[in-house]
């Protein structure tokens, strides 16, 4: 009896990734809180926040990889979902400021007082409750992705057309959020946060916890994404990526599959944004800029698409390099980033992951002798 091939949920790369992630998730906060400041082992506060930020980017890249690497949907608008999640969290944080704002209005955020608004707009209602805000972190990006995807996939917009309209989508949101009368703080966005769930956002312990949550979210979403792509649903996604109409003629409703994975991915991006905002302390419309979304795509490509952990790794490496270079040679960074886009697409189609693990699109058992024999037999 033959043994049916099964796709392992995590795979070797996945396990290594999770172990490393766990190590970093624990070590960094521990060394930050418990090592003596100044000692070689001590991780300074800013480092915790910085790495926490990278982890959020990694989660965003993971979300992009889920749709691009496995389903061939090149979204140039994932930054929008990230930013929407961030705004949802930012709104919660704004409400927590209460009367500690410059104008001391217990109800209205400062920018609304400044604009002479008299009462809280309806869409700000409820954001003072953390569970509600958390729900919105998933729901708002998810709903946008759902509606947008429903329209786009149903009318079979694919390839670069889809990429361009996702880019137009985030561009439209960018313009919208710049407007003061949208009620999201216009140009300046939301900032000056005081505390989250009663803990001051600036405190080292809060930061350490936020950091840990980011790592946890990344790990959790990684496992969830692996679960999806290693199931039959994941196999269908790859089928859609490689031969969309064949998949259709097998009876699969391609648009439903795309919609499912696009929405899940958008929610992951939203979560990433929500974790990002309390750590960096601000969310403004520039997060919607199309450049951000495209950059995310290159993290994914650089890390190696279609592996999930490669995308996360790519996000961390590229952003670490960015921090390093912008400090050292600010002018050189755009050359490097631009070069990265070119080099990766031309010479590194499999990305870093390809270097690490003899990378493949899918588990690829070697062509057996038997297969060759059977070919000959047929002739």
């Amino acid at each position: 009896m033959i043994q049916a091939p099964v796709t392992p949920i995590l795979g070797r790369g996945g396990v290594i990734f999770l172990v490393l992630l766990l190590a970093v998730a624990i070590l960094v906060p521990v060394l930050n809180l418990f090592a003596t400041p100044g000692s070689a082992l001590h991780v300074p506060d800013y480092m915790v926040t910085l790495i926490g930020k990278y982890l959020c980017y990694a989660l965003l890249a993971l979300a992009v990889d889920l749709v691009w690497g496995f389903c061939g949907i090149l979204s140039l608008g994932h930054g929008a979902f990230f930013a929407l999640g961030g705004y949802a969290m930012g709104m919660y944080l704004m409400r927590q400021i209460g009367s500690r704002g410059v104008y001391g209005n217990p109800e209205l955020p400062d920018f609304m007082v400044f604009l002479n608004w008299k009462e809280l707009p309806w869409y700000w209602q409820g954001f003072e409750y953390f569970p509600f805000a958390l729900l919105m972190v998933f729901l708002v990006p998810g709903a946008l992705a759902f509606v947008f995807g429903w329209l786009a996939f149903r009318s079979r917009v694919t390839g670069v057309y889809l990429s361009i309209i996702t880019q137009a989508m985030t561009f439209a949101l960018l313009l919208a959020f710049f407007r003061n009368d949208m009620g999201f703080g216009g140009n300046n966005g939301l900032t000056d946060f005081k505390d989250i769930l009663g803990f001051p956002v600036q405190a080292s312990t809060t930061r350490a916890v936020l950091y840990f949550c980011s790592a946890l979210a990344l790990g959790g979403c990684f496992i969830l994404a692996r679960r999806i792509v290693s199931s039959k649903l994941g196999l269908v996604l790859v089928s859609i990526r490689d031969a969309e109409s064949r998949t259709r003629f097998l009876g699969y409703r391609v648009e439903h599959y795309k919609l499912f994975v696009f929405t899940v991915s958008a929610m992951m991006a939203g979560l990433a944004g929500a974790l990002y905002v309390p750590q960096v302390g601000i969310i403004n419309p520039s997060e919607f800029s199309p450049e951000n979304s495209i950059e995310t795509v290159i993290w994914t490509a650089f890390g190696g698409r279609g592996t999930l952990w490669g995308a996360a790794l790519g996000a961390i490496v590229v952003n670490a390099a960015k921090s390093w270079f912008t400090g050292l040679l600010p002018d050189a960074w755009l050359f490097i980033l631009g070069g990265l886009f070119i080099v990766v697409t031309l010479f590194m189609p499999k990305g870093l992951a390809g270097i690490f693990s003899g990378w493949r699109w899918a588990p690829r058992p070697p062509v057996t002798e038997a297969a060759k024999v059977s070919t000959q037999a047929a002739e």
């Binding site: 090149l74 329209l151 786009a152 149903r154 009318s155 079979r156 917009v157 390839g159 670069v160 057309y161 990429s163 361009i164 309209i165 880019q167 137009a168 989508m169 561009f171 439209a172 313009l175 919208a176 710049f178 407007r179 199309p290 495209i294 795509v297 290159i298 490509a301 002018d331 755009l334 050359f335 980033l337 631009g338 070069g339 990265l340 886009f341 070119i342 990766v344 697409t345 031309l346 189609p349």
Partner: protein, 532 residues
């Protein structure tokens, strides 16, 4: 107060008492309180003396002084600790005076207004037609009845028919506010009705509110007729603004229609080709200014071929070094060319600096053309519109009628067949891409005239250009034209209602929805190869 001055002026004029001694009139400005000064100003203005205008100007500018010792009035300006004096009569320098010996002649707002009206009256008879026009317009706006007498005199002297008509309208505006007879006012309403501007309509409405007689209805009707004419013109103006925007969109998108539409290469660095064209214009202008300043007005014409060559060769290089390895992989092409765009931007930033560069507008492109007295079409926009159409027509001809165009279409439609027929498709690819990029460079020349020449110039056009091409229908130049016009005009028609930003958002959403409905655009080509 003002009517007093007017009466006085009238009196002086009707009696034909022309003050012969200008100096005396000028010196009369100094003594006494504001009320007396008012009379003196009116008298000076009414004298029609040639010194009147400069003296009154100096007075309102705070440059008119009086010498304490003899009460003689001078125009003066500070020079070190002292004042340099000019004798208003004859405008001759009159040495210097110590500050202690000389006192400034003070005025208040009331007098300032009087002076400006009086100056209006004076410039009405100025020898410079432009000054007369300005004066008439100022009265038209203020409707100040004090200007009426000088206006009426000016009308009778005026040789230029157009100016005379304008002055008559100004007089009519002043009549409405004056205490003249209803018949005269009725005639004035008739005159004013011919005008089409918001100010006149407001003037008429305001007038209607002050009377109850039959004039009220006439004025209201006239105001309404002006308003409706204005609304019609506003629509025309929107169309013009829309067309103007369309021409910019067309220029930016037309190169893309070649590279993306015809070749299927998605070039995210297209905006940077435009940007390079703009910088080429800047460099060419700089070189011309240095080496052949006489040719400066034509530097822009020189920049046209230069920009085409610069952007075109960068395009060819890009095709040979990057894009040709990525044919058939559109998503990768998108990413790689995005990288190229970042590199180009940063390169330009490193070479030219991050700040905006000044590109001068030659005289033949500045100024504006008036249409219907309401609409003013700026010259640079007109030139750009013409340029865009010329580029479009040229490209059309190239594609349709030349061997190069034939080969391009052959290669893009059936590569193996074209190869078999001996067309070197590699070179056709490179040159087609170069052509698209070169046209982007041309767009850059035009855009340098209306936008900031900065490293980010291209970024602001890239999404718009893609929308135009996709909306118009990929692979169809006429579609691109239609797309540019539709989006441009729609944008400008939405703006008044929705505001610029919201208008743009609405357009974006509309296009997104449209692409859902017709994924292949307005002028979609049907056929199997499209789906490949």
């Amino acid at each position: 107060m003002r009517s007093l001055a007017a009466i006085l002026m009238l009196l002086l004029m009707t009696c034909g008492v022309w003050a012969s001694d200008a100096a005396q009139l000028i010196n009369a400005l100094a003594p006494g309180d504001f009320k007396e000064r008012e009379t003196a100003i009116s008298a000076l203005a009414a004298s029609g003396a040639e010194e009147a205008a400069p003296v009154l100007q100096a007075l309102s500018g705070g440059n008119l002084y009086v010498r304490k010792s003899d009460g003689k009035v001078f125009i003066a300006e500070t020079r070190g600790d002292a004042l340099a004096l000019t004798d208003p009569v004859g405008m001759a320098a009159a040495g210097e005076g110590a500050k202690a010996d000389i006192e400034k002649i003070k005025i208040n707002n009331n007098l300032r207004r009087l002076i400006s009206n009086a100056l209006g009256g004076l410039t009405m008879v100025s020898t410079d037609p432009a000054a007369r026009r300005k004066a008439a317009l100022s009265v038209l706006k203020s409707g100040d009845p004090a200007a009426l007498p000088s206006l009426e005199k000016a009308i009778s002297d005026e040789k230029d028919a157009g100016l005379a008509a304008l002055m008559k309208q100004a007089a009519a505006a002043a009549t409405l506010r004056s205490d003249r007879s209803d018949a005269e006012k009725m005639a004035a309403i008739g005159v004013l009705k011919e005008r089409t501007d918001r100010d006149t309509a407001a003037l008429l409405t305001a007038f209607a509110a002050t009377t109850d007689s039959g004039l009220k209805d006439a004025a209201t009707a006239a105001a309404q007729s002006i308003e409706s004419t204005l609304a019609r013109w506003a629509a025309v103006q929107n169309v013009w603004y829309g067309l103007s925007l369309s021409s910019v969109l067309l220029l930016a998108a037309i190169g893309l229609a070649i590279t993306f539409g015809v070749m299927g290469v998605i070039n995210m660095a297209h905006g940077e080709m435009v940007m390079l064209g703009a910088y080429t214009t800047y460099v060419v202008q700089g070189m011309v200014a240095q080496h052949a300043p006489g040719l400066l007005p034509y530097a822009l014409l020189l920049a046209v071929p230069a920009a085409f060559l610069v952007s075109g060769s960068v395009g060819v290089a890009l095709e040979r070094c990057v894009i040709r390895f990525l044919y058939g992989r559109p998503l990768e092409t998108l990413l790689a060319t995005w990288g190229v765009s970042l590199v180009l931007q940063q390169a330009v930033r490193s070479i030219f600096g991050p700040t905006n560069k000044e590109v001068t507008t030659p005289a033949w492109m500045s100024g504006s053309v008036d249409v219907g007295g309401v609409l003013s079409l700026t010259m640079n926009r007109i030139v750009i519109l013409a340029f865009a159409l010329a580029v479009f027509a040229g490209l059309m001809m190239l594609m349709k009628a030349s061997t190069a165009g034939l080969q391009m279409r052959a290669v893009t439609q059936n590569r193996p067949m074209a190869n078999a027929m001996g067309i070197r498709s590699n070179w056709v690819d490179a040159l087609t891409f170069g052509l698209g990029s070169g046209i982007a460079g041309l767009a850059g020349v035009a855009l340098s005239q209306i936008d900031n020449v900065s490293p980010n110039l291209g970024q602001s056009y890239i999404i718009d250009s893609f929308l135009v091409v996709v909306f118009g229908g990929v692979g169809n130049l006429w579609g691109t034209l239609a797309g540019a016009v539709t989006l441009g005009v729609a944008n400008k028609f939405l703006e008044p209602f929705a505001g610029a930003v919201l208008g743009k958002i609405l357009i974006l959403i509309a296009v997104i929805l449209f692409i859902q409905k017709r994924p292949r655009g307005l002028f979609a080509l049907k056929g199997r190869w499209v789906e490949a």
